[in-house]
């Protein structure tokens, strides 16, 4: 790939998704985009760059962007935020009461493990939530992973990563060697395609936001912008969870870390509310 094509594709992907591609990722670009070249009958990356600028380039740009996302995920990934969520939910439910459903958002949900993990916790805590309902939204920029997340079908390998056996037998059914999430859990979640760089206001207000292992791929201004947009959608007593390698420090002062917690944040100036 010529430096020119690389620069063009990297700029396109960054403007669409926020993903930053470093020059040394040229090889990764070539392997991930190879199938697209083949499918489109393009000779090389120069031809791809050209096609991206031509008519129909928009749809192709979407495919290129999706192909460059990293979709690694697992159930109950990094444990800690889910432990915190367990402690948080009873208080939140009590504050909302039976009339107002809790709204939880898995903001870069990939194949859905995060959203399903949240649903399992809600199912487990249901007796302590006093009839408070909960809606979970999972969103991702990639249509392919959103489709997979909706199906809720996982491989033997995937259901062993992070998922205790007792939860596997409680919430999954076995179908032709794959593991299918049971209907009651699936009904708690809606999966939609959504770009974190787009306007987030139509998604509404959330009590809990999981935005993990996606900001690491963005540059600082994009991280700041996404964090501030999410802060605006977070309830005054709500909590935002970031990934293990992510922080708000130096990016925004609209979010502050919960005392004594790693990776859990609330809106600034709301100290009295977040228990």
């Amino acid at each position: 790939m010529t430096p020119r094509s690389f620069a063009f594709i990297a700029a396109l992907v960054k403007s669409r998704s926020g993903l930053v591609l470093a020059a040394e990722q040229g090889y990764m670009l070539e392997t991930r985009l190879g199938p697209i070249l083949k499918r489109e009958g393009l000779a090389d990356f120069e031809a791809l760059a050209e096609r991206l600028q031509g008519p129909g380039g928009h749809r192709l740009a979407e495919a290129v962007t999706e192909a460059l996302t990293t979709n690694e995920s697992s159930f109950f990934r990094d444990g800690r935020p889910f432990e915190h969520l367990r402690r948080l939910l009873p208080g939140l439910a009590a504050a909302r009461g039976a009339g107002m459903p809790l709204r939880l958002w898995s903001a870069a949900c990939s194949t859905g493990q995060e959203a399903y993990s949240i649903a399992m916790i809600l199912a487990e805590l249901a007796p302590q939530l006093g009839g408070c309902r909960a809606d979970i939204l999972g969103t991702d920029i990639s249509q392919a992973v959103v489709t997979r997340a909706r199906q809720g079908r996982f491989s033997q390998f995937e259901v062993q990563r992070g998922l205790p056996a007792r939860l596997l037998v409680r919430h999954f059914r076995q179908e032709e060697g794959r593991w299918q999430v049971a209907p009651d859990l699936r009904e708690m979640i809606r999966f939609e395609r959504w770009n974190l760089l787009a306007d987030l206001r139509p998604l509404g207000r959330f009590d809990v936001i999981f935005c993990r292992n996606v900001l690491i791929y963005f540059d600082a201004p994009t991280k700041a912008r996404v964090l501030e947009a999410m802060a605006a959608q977070l309830a005054p007593d709500g909590v935002l969870y970031l990934g293990g390698a992510e922080t708000v420090l130096g990016l925004t002062d609209r979010l502050v870390a919960l005392p004594g917690e790693r990776g859990a944040y609330r809106r600034a100036g709301m100290a009295a509310l977040a228990g």
Partner: protein, 132 residues
């Protein structure tokens, strides 16, 4: 990964020496002291001689199979000791339910690798969660 510290003893029960050896390598890398048994009867004797902290237990074995060992161990030593992780090619839902009802703490479907086994040992409470 953090340097493995003493995680106690894990008894590896499998009729295949190759599998025992592979499991031993992984478990030692995670800080366990490893003992081996070739079937359930040997495993039961090993527990009576000296109770291991954990048992990594194959299902299908001659003489006494994994489930028979598990039931005998639970009857004799109670529900918590030793912590038992089934490790088997049997991946049918009923098999997993049966093992959990018989008192297994966790269940590994083969094939497995070091990362998966480590993950399951964390879920069984045998290893600290690195993220915690």
């Amino acid at each position: 990964m953090t340097a493995p510290a003493g995680q106690g003893t894990c008894l590896v029960v499998d009729d295949s020496r190759v599998v025992r050896k592979a499991a031993r390598r992984i478990l030692e890398g995670l800080g366990f002291q490893v003992r081996e048994a070739g079937d359930g009867a040997e495993a039961l004797a090993a527990c009576r001689a000296e109770m291991p902290r954990a048992v990594l237990l194959d299902r299908n074995m001659p003489v006494m199979d994994g489930i028979a060992f598990l039931r005998a161990a639970r009857a004799e030593f109670g529900p918590d000791r030793p912590v038992v992780v089934l490790c088997t090619t049997e991946a049918a839902m009923e098999r997993i339910v049966e093992a959990l009802e018989a008192g297994a703490q966790e269940y590994v479907m083969k094939p497995f690798d070091a990362a998966l086994l480590q993950d399951k040992l964390i879920q069984a409470g045998l290893l600290p969660d690195p993220a915690a």
